[in-house]
């Protein structure tokens, strides 16, 4: 069961109720702010633990409970030299079918997991975002497809600021 932590969409009535219960336990305030049931349901799954991990292996394990294999079907688009570590554009897409999740990790950051996306039914297996990078580091994209994990890695060089711009 651990292998499919995010695979319970579409959201059933039951999972919504479970969600609300979990929200109460963790003390999330989403409901107080008038969030929909769907969001409340989603909230109970914020992978708090995975975001605390220091190594990519631990983060992937915490998030998915399994390990990833390299695949050329995972496309990771990131600059070779980041113009600034504060804003590094990173895009991930995949030609795999049945993609349910995409995660992006920065190995040299204090906590390696940067972002994780749940690709719900109907959504394309593709996401772009902007990440912070403490220093030159490997960026790893992990794609969950058909219950298996695939990954791609790219090094992004980060240099400090100075006389420029």
């Amino acid at each position: 069961m651990k292998s499919s932590i995010w695979n319970d969409a579409p959201v059933s009535r039951r999972s919504v109720l479970q969600g609300i219960a979990a929200v109460a336990v963790v003390g999330f305030t989403g409901i107080r702010f008038g969030m929909s049931e769907a969001l409340a349901a989603a909230n109970d799954k914020y992978p708090e633990d995975a975001f605390k991990q220091k190594s990519e292996a631990d983060a992937i394990k915490s998030l998915y409970g399994k390990t990833a294999e390299k695949s050329d079907k995972v496309k990771l688009d990131a600059p070779e030299i980041a113009e600034n570590g504060a804003v590094v554009p990173v895009a991930v897409s995949s030609s795999l079918t049945d993609v349910t999740s995409i995660a992006i990790l920065v190995t040299e950051n204090p906590n390696t997991l940067a972002a994780a996306y749940r690709i719900l039914p109907g959504a394309a297996p593709s996401v772009s975002n902007r990440l912070k990078m403490a220093k030159t580091s490997n960026v790893i994209a992990v794609v969950e497809a058909g219950g298996k994990l695939y990954s791609a890695t790219k090094e992004v060089k980060v240099t400090v600021g100075g006389c420029g711009g």
Partner: protein, 286 residues
């Protein structure tokens, strides 16, 4: 080049500068802004034959393919978007006396960025857009903004945005004081200062397109057309004032006060020699 040994570097830089100086062949010149403009723009066109003239306003992004791609990505949903909204709001927000910032400007401040700075004969000095904003606030009994970021950046961002595509049209009137201000700005631009013994021109005339500590330097031509800018390094917006003061600190010089006369004159000179290039601000920069 990461850490220069302080004094050694200073001494060395000055020694090199002095030793490489050609004999004093600098006859007294008559100020000639149109000739300066022509030479200035020709220099950059010759140095970067592949860069289209109007692309000089895009700074380092017109010089480096990898950066260009990151810029395009940023422009899809630019980080200065929030500043634009705030600027629009502030322009229209009534003061205690019922007037607004927009009331202080021709055409309510819309599409006029390219006319700044200008020489004000009555005040006898260069009026930049940032100074004009604070003069408006003070004349209406309001607190002036900080010159370097936040509201000032937002308001000037909005004014630049509504002027995009209009070309810089900075005028030097037939007034010896205006010409003196222009010359003073030029002198400031080329004068070496700070422990690194750099002038503005060292980075932005001699070395644009090159990397200093892996950052690609922007060409001086068109550099102010993109102001204010959202700089990733600042994680936020900054004005022309911020750009000038931070440049001074980077060469280890103590910056002057924002909107000091020398900075305003510098802005006057630098804007004038970019006449003919379109306003592209607000910009996003590394």
């Amino acid at each position: 080049m990461r850490r220069f040994s302080g004094l050694a570097m200073a001494g060395l830089a000055i020694a090199v500068a002095v030793l490489s100086a050609p004999p004093a062949a600098m006859a007294a010149d008559t100020p000639n802004p149109p000739a300066d403009l022509k030479a200035f723009q020709k220099f950059f066109k010759d140095k970067f034959p592949k860069v289209k003239f109007e692309d000089f306003v895009n700074g380092p992004y017109s010089m480096d393919e990898g950066l260009y791609k990151q810029w395009k990505e940023k422009e899809e949903f630019p980080p200065y978007e929030f500043a634009l909204d705030l600027g629009k709001e502030l322009m229209a927000k009534p003061f205690k006396n019922g007037k607004t910032l927009a009331d202080c400007f021709p055409n309510k401040g819309i599409g006029i960025r390219q006319d700044y700075p200008h020489f004000d004969a009555k005040q006898g000095k260069v009026i930049t857009l940032e100074l004009a904003v604070n003069q408006c606030l003070e004349a209406n009994g309001e607190q002036p903004y900080s010159y370097v970021k936040d509201e000032m950046a937002a308001v000037t961002a909005y004014m630049a945005y509504t002027s995009r595509g209009k070309v810089f049209d900075v005028k030097i009137p037939d007034d010896p004081r205006a010409l003196a201000a222009y010359e003073n700005g030029k002198r400031y631009f080329y004068t070496r200062r700070g422990q690194l013994n750099f002038s503005c021109a060292t980075c932005h005339v001699q070395s644009p397109g090159e990397r200093i500590r892996a950052e690609v330097l922007a060409p001086a031509l068109g550099i102010l057309n993109a102001m204010p800018i959202y700089r990733s390094e600042w994680s936020g917006m900054g004005t022309t004032s911020r750009r000038f003061t931070s440049c001074n600190s980077q060469v280890r010089g103590v910056p002057l006060k924002p909107q000091d006369e020398e900075y305003r004159d510098l802005e006057y000179y630098l804007s004038y020699v970019s006449n003919g290039l379109p306003i592209s601000g607000p910009g996003a920069r590394p």
